[in-house]
Amino acid sequence: MLLVLRLLLVFLLAASTARAASVALVLSENSGPYAEFASTYRDALEGSHWKIGSQGGSDSLAGSSPDLIIAVGSNAFRQVLNLGGSTPVVATLIPRQAYEKLLAENPGRGRRTTAIYLDQPASRQAAFLRHLLPGKKRVGMLVSSETRAAVGQFRQAFATAGLTLDSEDSDTEQTLLPTLNSLLPRVNLLLAIPDTQIYRRENIKAILVTTYRYQRPVVAFSAAFVNAGALAALYSTPAQIARQAAELTQSFSATLPPPMPPSQFAVVINSNVAQALDLNIQDEAAIRRAMLADKEAR
């Protein structure tokens, strides 16, 4: 009996000393999606040997030496980069462009970083479009210098899915609506991808009004966009990304995987807009199921 107790104690001690690791959560803000992320992340780490050593703004890192830093949001990642250090960083809730731009601005000394992007992979978008608007084959896309590089990827993915991508460049405010006006007549729908030069708060209404005038649905990248008037969006919730980040944390060892798209996704549809555009659309759950089935089938 004594032996058994002793063995158990030794096991517990060995486990704690050998596997205890701390992770620091750096949040852009302590509210909204960031708080949701933190909460889900904490829950997901429960029961693992990872402890959240600190949580908060970038100043919460002072005096601690975490094994891993989870930067939640673009600002948090920027601040973490600015603070320097050699702790590996996982950037989450961040658009791909922002991640790449920040990394480019901080050509750090070979720091180990990776990211879970907000951007959905092009193949997933293509699948989504196919299930959302089965008959609409011609997909329009506005790109700026920020996103022009992704066009090829999309074009390939769409082609695979039997869709045609038609993209137009617009780098300035003045050219945006004229470009849109020239693009829309040619396509069945407009796919919006994260681009801070095109899809800004000031422009969204004008873009939506213009597409509406052409009776073209907009498929967007966030729930907020759908609220503003887009037909539907394929996106990942902070909780989904937090769970993915937790998995990544638990599987963390010396090396970090390369940046990755979100593994899980959500679908949102604005039925009012569908009605206004006289579109007959399946419900969100059905589309999601179809997409998942599609994926497994592949």
């Binding site: 673009s74 006006n181 000031e202 209404k205 009004v209």
Partner: protein
């Protein structure tokens, strides 16, 4: 205010405040309505401009000028919108619709929010910035920035909308007009109500005031209709009750006045003492009767009656007795008269009678009857008995009589004549050619006075003739008097004495008699003649000490014994003034003089005082001697008187014996003396004295 009547005051009180309130209320609501209209316009304008700004956003952003123009035109088509302008951030108009009045400077201004830009009399302009709208976007996709301050919304242009105020002005004018109309209608209603109220309040008061005015002007039958309620009803009822009361009082006062007036009228026509008509009414009726005669009616007669020997009653028993006598006499006369005859007391002891439809012998008969009644009448007062008589003037009134003055004068003259001719008789006098006397009789005092002063009072002698052997020696004479007036018949003493006594001149006559008698006695004594003078004295002289004194003094001065002087007074004096008569006779006898009674046997009490007075002679009453021939009763009465007097040693004297037959009878009866035409004529005393006494033999 105080010059207004009640209705006007009520109108003012009710109209003024309500008018002020109505005007204030309506102007307040009108003004607030106008303000509300302005506020509505402002709200609408702001909403319009804000809406236009919002819908213009996309047009400006997309640079679609046509759509902007369409928006402007749509805006202008809204009511009240005069012009709409959309300008770009540089202030250049990119869409215009309507007639723009705004200056280009105004279009270039920058606004933060929808606001009033310019306002003129005719229009009002509002402007609003066109803001680029910001969409809620996912913060996760926001670009990474160092500063998180959200940029202000970008102004991408302006819209201006001009509104025509003419509609507002019209609406405001309508509102004002409606307000004025309401005020007008309200005021008219209030005025009508106020007038009705003032009328309903003031009408009963006006009626009351009118009634009071009528009442005070003497219309006591004034009443107000009592159909008001509450206080007015009480007032009206009170007024009517008061009016009833006043009318009752007035009516009873009126009836009392009428009563009094009737009484006064009665008194004006009647004599209060006897209840007979008075002189005025008598003359009035006489006038009427005369005019009816003149108009062809029946002739009538008028009697004028003057009571004889009325004054003694008054003097001895007082006015109460005199009044009672007059009353009794009135009834006596009235009893003899017919219904249609008119009996009036003309004053004092004078009466007048109008005998309707009665003339000639019938009238004469009535006059004689009345005369007889008066003569036979005895007035009894306490224990005294008076015989009176009536001197009656009868005047027939025919068609020829011109006026009542003729009747009055004739009647008066006839009455006077009756009195003059010895009282208690009837004299007739035609109404025409009446000697005027009335005014003279009114002047008795002066006539007597002047007659005495001018010695026109003629003393006469009524000689006595002894019928028996046992009589006084010497001459016996009674003094009498006659008033001589120029151009007129002499007036007898019997007619004079009433007037003289009335005017208190009898004393002077008495004094003349006494002086004349004593002078005659003196003269007779000096001529050694025996003379007895019978001196009649008026009743007043009995109570005068001066008469006794005068007699005493004269006798003393002539040194005469008094036995030749016999002072005669009326027998009725002894009945009415018995104590005075007794005292007088005592004094007279103390002087040695004799006392005699006149008119003896006329009264029933004649014998009572014979012993007390113990006269030496009595003059028999005419009533005893008048009908001596045929009347056995008179004769027996005369015989009784004679026997009594003879028994007492008193000489009896019969007067007015005018015929020898009577004289013989008297002589046979044993009467002591006789007097009259059958004995000796009446002649002036001096003449008689000289002729019959002085020159007589022996």
């Amino acid at each position: 205010m105080s010059r207004l009547n009640l209705r006007q005051r009520l109108l003012l009180l009710s109209l003024l405040p309500s008018a002020v309130i109505a005007i204030t209320l309506v102007s307040y609501f009108t003004l607030s309505g106008i303000r509300t209209l302005e506020g509505e316009l402002r709200t609408k304008a702001l909403a319009t401009v804000r809406y236009l700004a919002q819908i213009s956003e996309y047009g400006i952003i997309s640079g679609q000028l046509e759509s902007l123009h369409g928006l402007a035109q749509t805006t202008v088509q809204e009511s009240g919108v005069k012009a709409a302008v959309i300008v770009n951030p540089k202030g250049r108009a990119i869409a215009v619709s309507g007639r723009v009045s705004l200056a280009s400077e105004a279009l270039r201004q920058s606004l933060n929010e929808p606001a009033l830009v310019t306002e003129s009399d005719r229009w009002i302009a509002f402007g609003a910035p066109v803001l680029r709208s910001l969409n809620e976007a996912d913060t996760l996709f926001e670009p990474v920035s160092t500063n998180n301050i959200p940029a202000p919304q970008e102004v991408i242009g302006h819209v201006f909308v001009e509104f025509d105020k003419s509609e507002l002005i019209n609406q405001q004018r309508d509102l004002l007009l409606r307000g004025l109309l309401i005020v007008l209608i309200g005021l008219i209603l209030i005025a009508a109500l106020a007038i009705a109220m003032a009328d309903s309040l003031s009408r009963p008061i006006k009626r009351l005031a009118q009634a009071v005015r009528e009442m005070s002007s003497g219309r006591f039958d004034t009443r107000v209709p009592n159909h008001s309620s509450a206080e007015f009803g009480i007032l009206e009822q009170g007024f009517n009750e008061m009016a009833n009361h006043i009318e009752d009082v007035h009516r009873s006062m009126q009836s009392r006045i009428e009563e009094a007036t009737a009484q006064l009228a009665f008194q004006a026509r009647h004599d209060s003492l006897t209840g007979l008509l008075n002189r005025r009414e008598f003359e009035h009726r006489l006038e009427k009767a005369l005019s009816s005669v003149q108009a062809g009616g029946e002739e009538f007669s008028v009697l004028f009656i003057d009571l004889d020997r009325f004054k003694p009653v008054n003097d001895t028993c007082g006015h109460l007795a005199g009044d009672e006598l007059l009353r009794q006499i009135s009834q006596l006369f009235q009893g003899r008269l017919r219904e249609e005859d008119t009996l009036a007391r003309l004053g004092g002891d004078e009466f007048g009678i109008i005998l309707a439809n009665c003339s000639g012998s019938r009238a004469r008969q009535v006059a004689e009857d009345i005369c007889g009644l008066a003569g036979a009448y005895r007035f009894i007062w306490q224990d005294k008995v008076f015989s009176i008589g009536a001197s009656i003037g009868l005047t027939p009134v025919g068609r020829r009589v011109r006026n009542i003055n003729e009747v009055l004068a004739a009647g008066d003259a006839a009455c006077y004549r009756a009195k003059e001719s010895g009282r208690n008789q009837v004299c007739e006098q035609e109404a025409t050619n009446t000697p005027e006397r009335r005014h003279e009789s009114n002047n008795w005092a002066a006539r007597l006075g002047s007659a005495l002063a001018e010695d026109r009072l003629l003393i006469e002698a009524l000689p006595l003739h002894a019928l028996q052997s046992e009589t006084l020696n010497g001459h016996c004479v009674e003094l009498s008097a006659r008033l001589n007036e120029p151009g007129q018949a002499p007036i007898a003493l019997s007619a004079l004495i009433d007037a003289a006594e009335r005017y208190d001149l009898a004393g002077i006559i008495d004094q003349r008699f006494i002086e004349t008698a004593i002078a005659a006695l003196d003269r007779a004594r000096r001529n050694n003649k025996e003379l007895h003078c019978l001196v009649p004295l008026s009743r007043n002289s009995l109570s005068r000490r001066s008469v006794i004194d005068l007699i005493a003094r004269l006798l003393a001065s002539k040194n005469l014994p008094g036995n030749g002087l016999c002072l005669i007074f009326s027998e009725d004096v002894t009945t009415h003034q018995s104590s005075q008569a007794m005292e007088f006779s005592r004094q007279v006898r103390a002087l040695g003089c004799q006392v005699g009674l006149d008119d003896f046997g006329g009264g029933l009490s004649s014998f009572n005082h014979l012993r007390a007075i113990s006269p030496s002679c009595v003059k028999l009453s005419r009533s005893l001697t008048r009908d001596l021939g045929g009347n056995r009763a008179s004769t027996a009465l005369l015989r009784a008187v004679q026997e009594i007097t003879a028994d007492l040693g008193i000489y009896s004297i019969a007067e007015n014996v005018d015929d020898p037959a009577t004289l013989n009878q008297l002589e046979e009866l044993g009467i002591s003396y006789a007097q009259g035409l059958a004995v000796a004529p009446c002649e002036p005393f001096e003449v008689w004295l000289e002729g019959a006494v002085i020159r007589s033999a022996g």
